[in-house]
C-alpha cells in the first residue's frame, strides 16, 4: 500500500495527494500521493512508461505544454496549491527548476546560459551582480574552474557532461527551492555521471531534489528516499535503504532484483 509522510518527522516541501494524469483518454498516472522534503534527495525509479517522468513534470506544470494533458488531484508547494486558477506558472518554475534528460544548453555563450534566468526574473540589478550570480552558480555546479576563461564560448561547444552541469548551473542561478532532474545522466559517460552525482550530493539540503533515474545503483548512491512506480501507480515509497534491502511489495522486490524492467 502507498505510504507517505509518516516516516518523516520533517515538514514536506511538496505534498501531492491523489494525483492522476490523463493524456486524452489514456490515464498515465493513477492517484499518486507523496511528500517531498528539502532535507533529502528523492529518487523515482521504475520501468519505462511507468509514469515517473510524467509525475515529475506535474510538479512544475511542464505538462501544461502538452496539448491534451489533464491533471487531477492536488499538489501543494509550501502549502499552496500549484494547480489553482490564478497560479503564475512562470513564478512556479522559478521556484521549481528542472534539469532534463538530454543536456539542452541554449545556443548562446556559457555566460548567457547562466545569466538568462536571473535576467528574465529581474534578480540582478546591474552587471556586477549578474557576474556574481553567474560565477556562484557555475562554482556550485562544479564547472567554474573548467570554463572561467571562456565564458564567451558557446555553451553547445562543451562536452556532454559539462553541458549537463551547465544546465544545472542555469537551473540554480535563479535560486529555486526545488530542482527536478529527469534522468540527468542517461546521456552521459560514467565519469561525467560520477561528477553529476557528486554535485547532487553537494546540493542536497539547500534544495529539495527529485531525481528520476533508470539506474537503481544511481538511486541507491544519491538518494535518501525512493519511490517505485509501476504501470502508472506508485507502488512503494520509503527510505532508500529500506526499498533496496527490505522492500515490502512483491513488485518492488521483483524490479530491484532484475526480474523485469
Amino acid at each position: 500500500m502507498t505510504t507517505y509522510h509518516e516516516l518523516d518527522p520533517v515538514e514536506a516541501k511538496i505534498s501531492a495527494r491523489d494525483v492522476s494524469v490523463f493524456y486524452g483518454e489514456k490515464q498515465a498516472l493513477d492517484a499518486v500521493s507523496i511528500d517531498i522534503a528539502t532535507e533529502y534527495v528523492t529518487a523515482f525509479i521504475g520501468p519505462s512508461g511507468c509514469g515517473k517522468s510524467t509525475f515529475l513534470r506535474t510538479l512544475n506544470r511542464m505538462n501544461d505544454t502538452i496539448a491534451n494533458a489533464r491533471v487531477e488531484g492536488e499538489i501543494k508547494l509550501d502549502g499552496e496549491d500549484i494547480y489553482r486558477s490564478g497560479m503564475d506558472v512562470v513564478q512556479l518554475r522559478a521556484r521549481v527548476g528542472m534539469v532534463f534528460q538530454k543536456p539542452n544548453p541554449f545556443p548562446k555563450s556559457i555566460y548567457e546560459n547562466v545569466a538568462y534566468g536571473p535576467r528574465i526574473h529581474g534578480l540582478a540589478s546591474g552587471k556586477g551582480e549578474l557576474d556574481g550570480i553567474v560565477e556562484r552558480s557555475l562554482k556550485r555546479a562544479g564547472l567554474w574552474e573548467e570554463v572561467k576563461d571562456r565564458l564567451a564560448d558557446s555553451g553547445t561547444a562543451l562536452s556532454g557532461g559539462q553541458q549537463q552541469r551547465l544546465c544545472i548551473a542555469r537551473a540554480i542561478a535563479v535560486d529555486p527551492e526545488v530542482i527536478l532532474m529527469d534522468e540527468p545522466c542517461s546521456a552521459l559517460d560514467p565519469i561525467a555521471t560520477a561528477k553529476i552525482e557528486e554535485l547532487i550530493s553537494e546540493l542536497k539540503g539547500n534544495y529539495a531534489i527529485v531525481i528520476v533515474t533508470h539506474s537503481m545503483q544511481q538511486a541507491a548512491r544519491v538518494s535518501q528516499r525512493t519511490a517505485f512506480f509501476h504501470l502508472g501507480k506508485m507502488v512503494e515509497y520509503g527510505k532508500t535503504s529500506d526499498i533496496f534491502t527490505a522492500p515490502r511489495e512483491e513488485r518492488t522486490k521483483d524490479y530491484i532484483t532484475g526480474r523485469y524492467g
Binding site: M62, V90, M98, F100, F106, P107, G117, I120, C167
Partner: protein, 419 residues
Amino acid sequence: MTEPAPLAPADKQARLAARLRQRHRSDQLFRLAGMAAVAFAGLVLAFLLFTMTANGIGGFQRAELKVPVNLANGVIQLDPSQLAAGDPVTVLESAGLPALVDSELERAYGKDGPRLVIDGAWREAARRIARDPARLNQQVDFWLPASNDMAGALRGEGTPAELAQGKALAQSGVLARHFDGGFLSPGDATSPQEVGIWGALKGSILTMLVTLALAFPIGVLSAVYLEEYAPRNRWTDLIEVSINNLAAVPSIIFGLLGLAVFLGLFPNWRSAPLIGGMTLALMTMPVIVISGRNAIKAVPPSIRDAALGIGASRIQVVFHHVLPLALPGILTGTIIGMARALGETAPLLMIGMRAFVAAPPDGLTSPSSVLPVQIFLWSDEIDRGFVERTSAAIIVLLLFLLAMNSLAITLRNRFEKRW
C-alpha cells in the same frame, strides 16, 4: 516446400561480387546524372548572363553629337549668379539657349543640323551649364543626345542616306557612343535616346519596402501564432489549408483583388507604390508563413523546454529562443517571396502600374512604374533603340535582385547558429 540448399562459398562470393559491381555502377550513374544536372543549370545561367550583358552594355550608352557652342558671343546675357535665382533650365530657356543651340547646330552641320539631335537636346546643355556656371562666358563643346535616326545609323540601321550621314559624322569624330549617366537618373520617355530607369527602379524599391513592411511582420506573427499558440482543431486546420492554397494562387488574381479592394478603398492612389506593395504583400505573405512555420517547427523542443523550465514566459520563449533560431529559415522564405514579388508584373498591371510615368515617384502615393513592368513596356516598343534599353533595364533588375538577396543572405549568416 523444401528449403533451398545452402550456397557453396564460391557461389556466394560470385553473387556478392556481381551485386557489388551493379551497386557501384548505379552509384556512379547517379553521381554523373547529378553532375550533368548541375552543369546544365550552370550553363543556362552563364548563357543568360552572357547574352544579357552583351546586349545590355550598349543600353547604358547613348549616341551623342558634338556641338560647339559659343556662350561668350553675347547672345545669352546672364550672370552666373542669376542661374541660382530660379530653376537654371528655365532661366536659360528664357535667356535664349534653345535658339542659340539651334543656330550653332546649323553653323556646324548645315541647315538640317538641329534635326541631328533630339528635340529639347538644349536641356542637356542647360543642365551641364547649371553644374558649372563658369561655362557661361566660354566656348564649350557639348555632347548632346543624337536623334533617333542618327542613333540608328550608328547601330547600322536606317535608310541609305541616314547611314551615309551617320558614317561620315562618326568618321569625323563628332558622333559617338558615350556612357549615358542619364539612363540611371530620370524616368520614362517616348524616345529611347531620352529614357531613364531611375523612375522604375525607385518605384520598385518603394514597392518592395511596402511589401516587406507588411508581409514580413504579418507572415512571421501568423507563423508564430499558428505554431506556438493556436490549438489544434478544425479551424486551425482550415486556416493552414487556406494559407497553403493562397501560396499557389496565380498572381493575377491578387492583382484583381488589389484592384477591387485597395483601389476601391483608395481610388486616388492608382499606380502608387503603396497599393502595388500592398497587393504584392498579399502574394508574399503565404510564402513567409509557410517557410516560417517550417523553420519554427525545426527548432528543437528541448530548447523550448529549457527556457520554460527556468520560468520564461511563452512570449519570452518565442522571442528569446524560438525566433532567433528560426530566423535563418524565415529569411530564406522571405528571400524567395520577395524575389518573386520583385519580378511580378501581372498583378501590378491590374492596379494601373503600367501607365506611362515620366517623373520618378516622389512618395509612396504618387504614380510610379516598377522595373518588370518597365521592361515589359519597353520590349513592346517599335523603335529599335529600345532593344538595348530593355536589356539594360533587365541588368538593373538583376542587380537589384542580387543586392536584395545578398543583404538577406548576409543577415541569415549572421543569425545562423551552430549546434
